[in-house]
Symmetry: C2
Subunit: 237 residues, 2 copies
DNA sequence: GCCCTCCCTCATGTATCCAATCCTAAGAGG
DNA sequence: CCTCTTAGGATTGGATACATGAGGGAGGGC
């Protein structure tokens, strides 16, 4: 995902020229990854000159990146003292998931209430079928993980897009802009859990298509909440 | 969400040096106001040199401001083509209120569930009493509006702070970062409406103190939803 | 007459330079 | 021995100079 932003489906990114990116945008993407991956230690001060050198750009585009990431909440800024990597604790991740559960639930409610465009319904059905195929073996092989993850992302992103509320969409993305809190990173080796999770997807789409807003919302909220519990138990070890 | 949150009550703003602000921060604040006030026409292209001149700064801090506002969603950016003022429609405001109703409702649920610190409860009670006094006359005089508005802001901000979820707080602020969508701008001349709204506040606090999470959440959601309806009717005229 | 191309101008993106601020540490005084 | 003061270097903030890509108009070809 070299030239791609973290959220490939972001409207602006794909509609406008994805090829011509400024160094500032490039630096933003790279630094964001570094922070989310933990390459930069929490609390670490970011000195501009060495950082710019390591990125092969001058201080100007670097500063643009720092401003961006500070506003995304990944960095902290103090005037005349520079930027530091934000310290994230379990509470941050917990808070992110708590909000995300509500927001994605709301998105499902919106989808159920407004109705899905046929094209979107088809895409979602395709996601479910793809998941079915991957899980058909009875166990999720290591080779099956990347496509499953991609399917998972597309399912959630499609719902967010169909909710037609740019704030919900943006906010959900922001909750994923926290180390460890991205659903792109899940490492559920437990087949039973992933099976159940995929079953949630089936029920969610069914509820939405049936116009059952409250049910779809409750299902999605639980879906995300449970993902948090799994992640929490995993992080505790 | 990080660096600039346009709400003076933010702890970071007042605790850290409020005096020493960088020109970039200054320019961000000024430009943000200009966009929210409509001083800059929607869709208008922002040329950097004249803008910098009008702000009395050079392009460097100006660009910092543009980056900030673009990520706040107030401006749109296209590489090598510059920034334009985002066009906001009724749907944007409606979406903002819809999300805000949910988020502030969630914040109330959190407050009720976690319990309020005594200091916060005292502040909220003081808000209610202040509102009672202002409305005691039986009609809201023009001189009564600013203090009522300040009280209203403090009430909501206090609840958001007590929810102890930085995402909720940040997201609510972001939904207010939309022209016309700030609760600082309400112009309810109708005394009955404002009376009812203040009664909501009373009930919300009572529900929270009684640990009635669902009730507090429902009350706040309705409180915000109704504010939207009033605003919508007002904008239609 | 219409369209295509080339070139010129202007705006943006990037680099560098200068100024202001902060941190450190050494030294003097108590 | 501790503390306060004060330079010095280092780092960030802001201004300006340079490079690159976008847009528009004039001119020529079809």
């Amino acid at each position: 995902m070299a030239g791609q932003d973290r959220f490939p489906a972001q409207d602006a990114e794909i509609l406008s020229n994805p090829l011509r990116r400024t160094e500032g945008e490039e630096a933003t993407a790279i630094l964001r990854e570094r922070v989310l991956n933990g390459d930069l230690a929490p609390g670490e001060r970011l000195h501009q000159v060495p950082l710019a050198l390591s990125l092969g750009v001058s201080r100007t585009p670097l500063r643009e990146a720092l401003v961006n990431l500070a506003q995304e909440g990944l960095l902290e800024y103090e005037a005349n003292r520079g930027y530091t990597v934000r310290r994230f604790g379990m509470e941050d991740i917990q808070q992110a998931y708590a909000v995300r559960a509500r927001l994605e639930g709301f998105a499902c409610w919106l989808c159920a209430t407004q109705g899905l465009p046929e094209a979107a319904a088809a895409r979602l059905r395709a996601c479910l079928e793809a998941g079915d195929r991957i899980l058909a073996a009875g166990t999720l092989t290591p080779e099956g993980l990347p496509p499953y993850r991609a399917m998972n992302v597309e399912f959630h992103e499609t719902l967010l897009a169909c909710a037609e509320n740019r704030f919900v969409r943006s906010f959900v993305h922001q909750t994923q802009n926290v180390p460890m809190a991205s659903d792109r990173l899940f490492v559920w080796e437990d087949h039973a859990i992933i099976r159940r999770s995929h079953d949630d997807h089936h029920r969610i789409l069914r509820a939405i298509l049936a116009g059952q807003g409250e049910r779809a919302e409750a299902l999605m909220r639980e879906h995300v909440t449970f993902a948090w519990e799994v992640l929490r138990d995993l992080l505790r070890r």
